[in-house]
Symmetry: C2
Subunit: 115 residues, 2 copies
DNA sequence: TGACGATATAGATACTTGTCAATACATTGT
DNA sequence: ACAATGTATTGACAAGTATCTATATCGTCA
């Protein structure tokens, strides 16, 4: 696979897993969630949950804070904001037109990967 | 990998690739884009572009219409709407609290996978 | 019909990823 | 210090995926 330097791709990719999306959804329902609760929810082993939490941490989605024996995870607002920004960017914008055949000179600038 | 029956996961996963996100972004800049333009943009071969377009098609992200020799792709509004809906669902909602230790009886209903 | 250009499919391969069992690490309480 | 519990790491493996070359399919035009 190509190296994904694009932070948006990383954000999407880390959310694009059943277990991880479930975790993100749980974290959307409570301010913070103990890691032990994820183990119970998704039908995967504890190491697997831990692995997914690390992926989410590395992508900036969540942060964890240790209190006694337990680690409480919470959503990082920056990630949520970036995700929503991305969602806002995908879809119709102003100035739409048809991008035609290869010799079409009317190409929009954005369609040409800037050198 | 687990079978992803969750349509949201499918939507995310199909967008979570550098080439495909680039395609989605191009399609956000013009009402429709000829397939031949994607080949030029992303640094991958034509069959690879075709493969990615198929993935996006299968996920419901895009639809293609043939006109003469060329196939014009466009974003499907339903997919855009679903994506934005998903983005709106990830993040703080009302009624937040801390989900505590395993024996914590105060769990929010949403945190227990409904049997 | 046959040649040509655009797009899709098939098959092969290297790489990535999700998963688990086993183990290590960290914190609390006895 | 030691046992118990929650979490992270390691190592291994099966499965998925992105990519290519080669080839097939589809539509147009002479």
């Amino acid at each position: 696979m190509k190296r994904q330097t694009d932070p948006d791709v990383l954000l999407l990719q880390s959310a694009a897993d059943p277990t991880r999306l479930a975790i993100l959804r749980q974290l959307s329902a409570a301010a913070e969630v103990c890691a032990c609760n994820f183990t119970g929810c998704c039908e995967v082993s504890q190491p697997t949950v831990s692995h997914h939490l690390k992926v989410l941490r590395d992508a900036g989605w969540v942060s964890g804070e240790r209190r006694a024996n337990w680690i409480y995870y919470r959503l990082r607002p920056e990630a949520v904001a970036r995700f929503r920004q991305l969602a806002a960017e995908i879809g119709p914008i102003d100035g739409w037109s048809t991008l035609g055949q290869p010799d079409d000179k009317r190409r929009l600038a954005v369609l040409q990967p800037q050198a």
